[in-house]
Symmetry: C2
Subunit: 225 residues, 2 copies
DNA sequence: CTTGACACAGAACAGGCGTTCGAGTATCAT
DNA sequence: ATGATACTCGAACGCCTGTTCTGTGTCAAG
């Protein structure tokens, strides 16, 4: 009888189990049982699987919910809840107002019209369920370092604190824009994200409708041609 | 005995179960059992829970793995596998070369130094496990519409097709840059993402090291001050 | 050689869990 | 009334599963 002994670190067996848990989870949408791990990793005894599982738990590779069926999961893996779906309500461009989320939008939206964001990506406490996304159309947002096709994720709000990046509708100019917001003595300063560009100033008697606060920008770089 | 009868759509009970499954999953990292659902939704019989679960399955709100313990999950929820972790290997800035991924980097990296990306966000077939991420430092990438602090996700490669956005190291200029790549007759054209800016040309005898292909850019808009 | 840590097997136990069945009750159209 | 439908309960069945215990072979240190 031959046994490969890797005194330290993860042995071949450990890795095999890890891989199997991952692939099984991917395929079945739920973790494998101890016996299933055993079968697919050529371990004939459940106690041996348990033996390795204990080690993998100690080494921090997996987490276990003892006593609970299929209570194994890879650490750092997010069974659910650490990811959420944000509806894409429409497009955002300079010449048009921003689609505002209504309650109906959050009830049911198709996966096609939404983006999934990992919670870990989300800044601070913005993990509310009321976020919405808009797809940038055209190149009118380049001064906000936002490109055509980018997806901006917004938190709906009517007010902003200094330094927030906001999506505003300037009704006097019939223009939508993304800018950093600063309230000054007698006017608002809207600062482009691009530091080489100059701010614009809005008198307080002008209409300035804050539609939302930008919390994230995502750009899928497909191809340029 | 009073019973509220909602002939069509989801009744109060259905919604309660749905909410419970979601919150339980979030808290325990695994789905609840039928009995647990019953307890928390004031249903005294497992068969009644099963009764509602069947309906929720028919209406498409949940999926069930019959015969399997805790085999309930919300539809559209991604238990795992639809998200993956990309290691942040370092920073990228104009004046310094790009950290290149080594095999060791993909073995074990701490969650703190990585970003999680939903598979659904990933363009096309880039879902390989060899992706890596870099954090942009400084404002030298603004011509690529990439800001200080942005995270760029790269696929390591030495060659690129026309139109790809690549991270290149120009050893003659001692400069790292992100540009759209085009190979022309006798030179390379590196086109900035910002359409208002002009391309730079690199003679083929100059050193041009393609370090990776940009597949995504993520910007967490925190605050500007 | 002895000892003990390590890797593994097999069996048995006890509880968890989905399933099923029989039966009861309320609401409503016929 | 009466049947159909929707909803609820309780209990029992039986498999699935994690746990635990005993025992065996390997290998390196003392």
């Amino acid at each position: 009888m031959m046994m490969v002994r890797k005194s330290k670190g993860l042995g071949e067996r450990h890795q095999k189990i890890l891989d199997f848990i991952a692939s099984y989870q991917r395929e079945h949408k739920h973790p494998p049982s101890i016996r299933e791990i055993g079968e697919h990793c050529d371990i004939s005894s459940t106690s041996v699987v348990n033996y390795y599982l204990d080690q993998l738990e100690k080494s921090g590779n997996i987490e276990r919910d003892r006593k609970i069926s299929r209570g194994v999961r890879l650490t750092g893996s997010t069974p659910l809840g650490d990811m959420f779906r944000v509806p894409i309500l429409g497009v955002i461009q300079a010449g048009e107002p921003i689609p505002v989320p209504s309650n109906a939008d959050f009830g049911s939206f198709t996966p096609e019209d939404s983006v999934e964001i990992a919670m870990s990506l989300m800044p601070a406490k913005e993990k509310g369920k009321d976020l919405f996304a808009l797809q940038v159309q055209g190149e009118s947002m380049i001064d906000a370092m936002v490109n055509d096709g980018d997806i901006v994720i917004l938190k709906p709000t009517q007010e902003a604190r200094n330094g927030d990046m906001v999506a505003v509708w300037l009704s006097d100019r019939n223009e939508t824009t993304l800018k950093f917001f600063f309230k000054e003595k007698d006017k608002y300063r809207l600062q482009p994200a691009n530091p080489t560009m100059n701010p614009i100033f809005i008198n307080k008697n002008e209409h300035l409708e804050i539609k939302g606060k930008v919390v994230m920008v995502i750009r899928k770089v497909e191809r340029y041609m």
